[in-house]
Symmetry: C2
Subunit: 464 residues, 2 copies
């Protein structure tokens, strides 16, 4: 495979397919399509900006025929390097395939092209009283295609699920350039094997998604947000387990450890008492008449002897203020450590205290500040190693520390990634988690969808 | 492949693996493992009754090595013939692999072997205040393995989803006898491709499920059941669409047409006025404090100018009485037409009136009584053609009528099966619905999981 430069013939054919406005060849233009939020970078040979599905099919077919690797990207908000064209070749950006094709409120369905942003979908759905549950923090800019390719979720997943629970069907193109339709337009369907969910979370390695049929959920009438402050992590984790054991499932149950709280104290105007060692943001939604009861039920479960304070926001402004703190966290972390290592491991909810204790131990042992926050209701914790990339000693220690973290997560019956995906960053750790027979089958499945191996080569699965 | 008799060698090896108590060889014993609720029958050469996963692995390996086909069955409640060993060979019954391995309420997880009944799982979960949402009508006898293999759901799916939305991971054995582990023990996980959902609904053609990690849901505190009677189908379908457009999703939304109501009138003690042309059973659940509001909200959406009566059951006894009528339906139908053709098509909720009108037209045209009921909230309608199997003319007409029904369903953006599966009965219709590239990939995937084609041959997918 020659992916270090385009042949004249390839370039000519791409121009014929896409027109000069649909193909970026200048270095400066191509450069900006070479990175994502993993902070890796590789400039692609060219960038295809198709406006029609026929163009996508033709581009994939050309790549397949001429052995050119192809990386599909939305807006590059992924953190694991899945959109970085490390094997060279072509980048296909879905940005011009951004149409909302249909909103069908009678059937709770929305049909959309991959390049539409999550926010555009939410707005279109909201006009009819609905929403689409997956809500990554980057919802304002990230695309539906990226959400689907990574099975990216967000806080609401604890109540409403991930894309896998909220997608009915897909259209796409296989690696050998064949248009493909999967799934159904209904909420039930068992004809054939479930190729829809096979494509969801496959990070562009099995096919190019060109259209998705999304399952909508009615917007809740009311919302209540609570903030609970705890003396320490164990108390907060205990509260999470109690909240999840009673029948009112919150629509968000977010956690911050001491380190994360410290970040906010230093980098925003939020005031939190010194003795606070952990924090939960808890949100419930539902019918207006029941919201008081729901808030009371989760508040009761959240209270324990080490709960220092429980604040309830009762209107939009108060809710915004509480969330602002949570949203200030990621930028604050970037300020302190621009190249922080950000993982998104998951453990069973009851094992969260063990995870946090273990992370603190590892941080001390390796001399690395580790800051933890995330979607506690799913046990999905964002583990941030604050390291200086210019210090080779620290980077070496961080690599060893990360390896120990992953082993600990697996020993706690957890998984290495809840929503960020594997990309390049976690690829070499997959063998520690995944059953060898399952891994063999994944490679075999990849070979059926993409026989020449052009789709996002080197990503998602460890090399054979 | 010689599946017409066991060789001495095969028999000897099976005895070594299973012991004499774990292998049925007598004709009378084998006979009862030859049918399911499709009313097809083929006696298998032998029946394996493994008690350990190691035995399952050894049996599959032997079948693979000696080219013996293998049909896995739970309790044979499936209606599409998936458990009938039409290719001869061996039947493996999971009835002795029925252990509930773990109930983990802190993490909302239950781990179970495939032979446990749905009811056993519900009871074990209920002791801790939880339930597992899938609830086929046959829950008292059907097995979890069968539920997973068919992705079988039931009334609650409208609110809580099918096995695909309620299963975290699986253990199993591939067709070439390799033990396999898929998925996670957490509610999020994106490492590797989603093999769990690929196996769910694959009807025993990709692997033998030996263990499942199920996601539990807290039992609701309260429940309210409503029965609404309508002048005709359009009015009922309109009510369904209105109910599904407001934010309170019912936990059951069941429909019966005029023909189904007639059955109950004649074959039970229930009294329903003559002018009633359609009926809805609507159930809501949730916190006790909110249940009144929920019932009021759905009742409001259910009422329209052609709603003749709306009854609300307020205690367990009243609820039971309302459901008794719904449950009397299937046996009543069997009384009238022991070999009724029972389909479970799905259409988008808004197309239900068109479906029912179309079915009535087709019934008249072919001179066949068609009775319809089912899970209206999912648009999943059980279409029953009441035919006399001894009348060749009528059976010929029924085949043509069925073909027209399937075409109509697909024209309405529907799917051929919502939960019964394909088995043998619908296998030849799959090509009408499934995209040819998707079908090609399904066959290729099958070949990876089951290279010698021993697992449930001839089922689920149309022959190549």
């Amino acid at each position: 495979m020659n992916n270090s430069q385009l042949t004249n013939d390839q370039q000519q054919q791409l121009l014929e397919i896409l027109g000069s406005k649909g193909l970026l060849l200048e270095t400066a233009d191509r450069w900006t399509y070479g990175y994502d939020n993993s902070r890796r970078h590789c400039t692609p040979l060219a960038v295809a900006l198709p406006t029609t599905v026929a163009q996508v099919v033709a581009v994939v077919a050309l790549c397949n025929e001429t052995d050119l690797s192809l990386v599909v990207r939305g807006r590059g908000t992924g953190t694991a390097g899945a959109a970085v064209p490390v094997a060279g070749g072509l980048v296909l950006s879905t940005e011009r395939l951004d149409r909302i094709i249909k909103v069908d409120p009678d059937n709770r369905v929305l049909v959309v092209q991959p390049g539409a942003t999550n926010q555009a979908v939410q707005q279109a759905a909201a006009e009819h009283g609905f929403f689409w549950p997956p809500d990554p923090t980057s919802a304002a800019v990230c695309t539906i295609g990226g959400n689907l390719a990574c099975n990216a979720a967000g806080p609401r997943a604890v109540k409403y699920g991930t894309p896998r629970e909220n997608t009915l069907g897909l259209r796409g193109v296989t690696g050998d350039g064949r248009p493909l339709r999967t799934g159904v337009y209904t909420t039930k369907g068992v004809v054939g094997y479930d190729l829809t969910r096979l494509l969801l979370g496959s990070e562009g390695t099995l096919g190019v998604i060109t259209e998705a049929t999304l399952k909508l959920t009615p917007l809740p009438e009311a919302r209540r947000t609570l903030r609970a402050l705890y003396r320490g992590t164990r108390a907060a984790a205990e509260a999470v387990a109690r909240i999840m054991a009673q029948p009112i499932t919150p629509c968000a149950l977010e956690f911050m450890d001491e380190g994360a709280i410290g970040m906010i104290r230093n980098y925003s105007e939020v005031t939190i008492p010194e003795e606070v060692g952990a924090l939960l943001m808890i949100e419930v939604d539902g019918p207006a008449e029941c919201i008081e009861h729901a808030a009371t039920a989760v508040a009761e479960a959240a209270r324990n002897s080490d709960c220092l304070e429980l604040t309830e926001a009762r209107n939009a402004q108060e809710i915004r203020a509480l969330w602002q703190m949570r949203k200030a966290l990621s930028p604050a972390l970037r300020n302190v450590a621009p190249k922080k290592i950000n993982e998104d491991v998951v453990v069973p909810v009851s094992r969260m205290p063990d995870l946090i204790d273990g992370l603190n131990d590892l941080g001390r042992r390796y001399g690395i500040t580790i800051v933890n926050f995330g979607h506690a209701g799913n046990g999905n914790i964002h583990v941030n190693l604050l390291v200086d990339p210019d210090d080779p000693n620290q980077m070496g220690a961080a690599a060893e520390c990360l390896s120990d973290i992953f082993n600990m997560v697996l020993a706690l019956d957890g998984t290495l990634s809840g929503e960020h995906g594997i990309g390049l960053d976690k690829r070499d750790y997959v063998v520690r988690e995944t059953d060898p027979v399952a891994l063999d089958l994944m490679h075999r499945i990849k070979a059926q969808f993409d026989p020449t191996g052009i789709l996002n080569p080197g990503k998602k699965l460890p090399p054979l």
